[in-house]
C-alpha cells in the first residue's frame, strides 16, 4: 500500500508469522471441521496482526475484519446444516 509504513515491526512480524503458520497448518490438517475453521480464523488473525504491524490503511484492516466476520458466520451456519443433514453410510467421517 502506498500509505503503509516502509518497514514493519520485527516482533509483530514474527508473532504474525507464527500465528499464520499455525493457522495454515491447522486449516490443512485438522481432523475435524471445527479444527479446520479454527485454523482459518487463526490464519486471518495472523494476517490481521501482520497488516496492523505494517501500518496498513484502515480500509484494508476493515476489509479483513469484515471477511473474518463473514467467514465465521457462514461457517457456523454450514456446520449447523452439516449436523442436521442425514448421516451417510458411505462417505466416511466428517472431514473429507
Amino acid at each position: 500500500m502506498e500509505a503503509a509504513q516502509p518497514l514493519f515491526d520485527r516482533a509483530y512480524f514474527v508473532a504474525a508469522l507464527v500465528v499464520l503458520g499455525l493457522g495454515l497448518w491447522l486449516s490443512l490438517s485438522a481432523p475435524r471441521w471445527l479444527g479446520r475453521l479454527l485454523g482459518v480464523v487463526l490464519t486471518q488473525a495472523g494476517a490481521l496482526i501482520m497488516v496492523l504491524g505494517a501500518g496498513a490503511p484502515g480500509a484494508l484492516i476493515g476489509v479483513l475484519i469484515a471477511v473474518m466476520t463473514a467467514t465465521v458466520a457462514i461457517a457456523s451456519a454450514l456446520l449447523l446444516r452439516l449436523q442436521n443433514a442425514p448421516q451417510p453410510h458411505d462417505d466416511g467421517g466428517e472431514a473429507p
Binding site: 500500500m1 518497514l7 514493519f8 501482520m50 496498513a56 480500509a59 479483513l64 461457517a75
Partner: protein, 464 residues
C-alpha cells in the same frame, strides 16, 4: 434538452455510477430477501439486475473510451461481468425456482449479492480485490449449501470452500498490507499471489474450488468461473506491476506463467480422464482459467488482450457446459456419468448443441472462439519467449480433442438409454443455451471487433 445538457447529465451520472453498480445489487438483495415468498420477489430481483447491468455496461463502455477515470481494462472486465451477471441470473433463476423449492427469494438475493461483489472486483483498487473475491466466494458457499439442504457431501464441499476462501483472503490481505523493499516486497507479493490463486481455484489443482464447482447446484455453479475466478485473475494481473518493478515483476510474472502452464495441462488431463461429467466440466473450466492466467501474466498488451479474449471464451464455455449439464441433471451433488449424455442430441438438441460447441471451444477447434483466443495466447507466450507456456496451451488443447470426440459420439451417435425424464424443463435455460452456442460460433467466425477492443484496452491499460 440540448446536447450539452445531456452530456453534462451523463458526466454527473457516471461519477456516481460506480457506487450504483456496487450498491444496487446489495440493496435489491436485501429487499428481495425481506419480501420472502412473495411472487413479486423474482420480478424485483430481475429489475434490479437489469438496471445494475445496464449501468455497468454503460460505465464499462465509457471507461474503454476514456470518458471516465476508471481503468480501461477494468471497463472491459466490467462489461464481461455484466453480461455474465445477466446470464448467471437467468441460469440461476431457472434452476433455483424448482417446484420443490417453495421460496426462491433467498437464493436470488444471494445471487444478487454475489454479483455485486463480482462487480466490486473490476474496480482497480487493492481493497476492492481483497473484499470482493473472498466475500463472493463465501456467499457462493452459502448459496451452494442453501441449494443442497440434505446432501452431506455438498455441504462438506461448501465448508472446504469456506476454508479455502478464508485462507486465500488472509494471505491476499496480508500481502497487500505489507510493504518494504527487497525480500519483504517479494514476500508480500508472493503472499498476495498465493491468496488470489487459492481464491480463483488455479491452486491447488483439483482443490476446494473445483470440488465446489463439481458438487454445487447449477445456480451456484454458474457463478464460480465467470464471477469469481475471472475477475480474481484480472485483479491478480493488476497486483504485479504497481507492487514490483524490474526483476521482481519479471520473476512474479514468470512464476504465474509457470503456475498457469502446469495447471492448464494437469486440469486438461484430469478432464480427459474424468468419469463424472461434472468433474470433467470443473477440470475443463480450470484448464481454461489457467490459460487466462498465462495471458495476464505476460504483462504485455498482446498478452493482456489474449487474456481478455480468452476470459470471454472461458465464460461462454462455462455457461454452455454448466447450462447443458443442468438440463440433464439439475440436482446438486449427484454423480452424472457420461452415459447420461447418450442420445442427448435427440432428446435435448439445444442442450446437446451447447455442450458440443463448448467442448469443441475448450479444445480450441477452428470456427469456435476458443481457437481464436488460444491462437492469441500462443502468440503472446511466444512473443514473451515462453515457448514452454505455448507448448502447454497446445498440449492441453490436444488432450481435450479425444474428450471432445468422445462427448460428441455420445451426444449424437449413441442410442438413447436414458429411462427417466430430465428433472428440469430447460425452458428457463433456453436463452442461455441459444446465446452461448451462437456467440461461441459467431465469435469463432469473426471476432475482429472483440479482438480489436481487447488490444485497444490492453494497450491503454499499461501493457508493455
Amino acid at each position: 434538452m440540448t446536447e450539452a445538457q445531456v452530456l453534462q447529465w451523463l458526466a454527473q451520472w457516471r461519477s456516481v455510477a460506480p457506487a450504483f453498480v456496487i450498491g444496487a445489487p446489495l440493496i435489491v438483495a436485501c429487499v428481495v430477501a425481506a419480501m420472502g415468498a412473495s411472487r413479486w420477489a423474482g420480478g424485483v430481483a430481475a429489475l434490479g439486475m437489469v438496471l445494475t447491468c445496464a449501468a455497468a455496461i454503460d460505465l464499462g463502455y465509457a471507461s474503454m473510451t476514456f470518458r471516465t477515470p476508471m481503468e480501461p481494462v477494468g471497463g472491459f472486465m466490467m462489461i464481461v461481468q455484466a453480461g455474465a451477471a445477466l446470464v448467471v441470473f437467468l441460469g440461476a433463476g431457472g434452476t433455483v425456482s424448482q417446484p420443490k423449492t417453495r421460496d426462491a427469494s433467498l437464493p436470488l438475493a444471494m445471487v444478487l449479492v454475489a454479483i455485486g461483489f463480482a462487480l466490486v472486483m473490476t474496480i482497480r483498487a487493492p481493497e476492492s480485490v481483497a473484499l470482493g473475491a473472498p466475500m463472493l466466494g463465501l456467499v457462493l458457499a452459502a448459496l451452494t449449501a442453501a441449494g443442497a439442504a440434505s446432501h452431506r457431501a455438498t455441504v462438506q464441499a461448501a465448508l472446504m470452500a469456506v476454508c479455502a476462501f478464508g485462507v486465500g483472503a488472509a494471505l491476499l490481505t496480508a500481502g497487500l498490507g505489507l510493504s518494504g523493499e527487497g525480500l519483504a516486497r517479494a514476500f508480500a507479493l508472493a503472499l498476495a499471489m498465493a491468496g488470489v490463486l487459492i481464491v480463483c481455484g488455479v491452486f491447488p489443482f483439483d482443490g476446494p474450488v473445483h470440488q465446489l464447482q463439481r458438487l454445487a447446484p447449477a445456480g451456484a455453479s454458474f457463478l464460480i468461473a465467470p464471477c469469481v475466478a475471472l475477475p480474481a485473475l484480472y485483479a491478480l494481473s493488476t497486483l504485479i506491476e504497481p507492487r514490483s518493478a524490474g526483476d521482481l515483476a519479471n520473476t512474479a510474472a514468470l512464476a504465474l506463467a509457470v503456475m498457469g502452464a502446469g495447471a492448464t495441462v494437469v486440469s486438461a488431463v484430469q478432464a480427459a480422464l474424468a468419469r463424472d461429467v461434472r468433474r470433467m466440466i470443473a477440470s475443463t473450466i480450470g484448464s481454461q482459467l489457467a490459460c487466462v492466467l498465462i495471458g495476464f501474466a505476460a504483462q504485455t498488451s498482446a498478452g493482456g488482450a489474449a487474456g481478455l479474449v480468452h476470459a470471454v471464451t472461458c465464460a461462454l464455455l462455462a455457461f454452455g457446459l454448466i447450462g447443458a449439464a443442468a438440463v440433464v441433471a439439475p440436482h446438486a451433488g449427484v454423480v452424472m456419468v457420461f452415459e447420461r449424455l447418450d442420445g442427448l442430441g435427440k432428446r435435448r438438441p439445444l442442450a446437446a448443441a451447447a455442450f458440443a460447441v463448448s467442448v469443441l471451444s475448450a479444445a480450441g477447434a477452428p470456427l469456435t472462439i476458443g481457437f481464436l483466443s488460444k491462437w492469441q495466447l500462443i502468440q503472446a507466450a511466444l512473443g514473451q519467449g515462453w515457448w514452454w507456456a505455448a507448448a502447454a496451451i497446445v498440449a492441453a488443447s490436444l488432450v481435450m480433442v479425444p474428450l471432445a470426440g468422445r462427448v460428441i459420439e455420445r451426444l449424437y451417435f449413441t442410442p438413447d438409454t436414458e429411462a427417466e425424464a430430465p428433472a428440469l424443463s430447460g425452458v428457463a435455460l433456453t436463452p442461455v443455451l441459444i446465446g452461448v452456442t451462437l456467440a461461441t460460433l459467431a465469435l469463432g467466425v469473426s471476432a475482429a471487433d472483440l479482438a480489436l477492443w481487447a488490444v485497444h484496452v490492453a494497450s491503454a491499460g499499461g501493457g508493455r
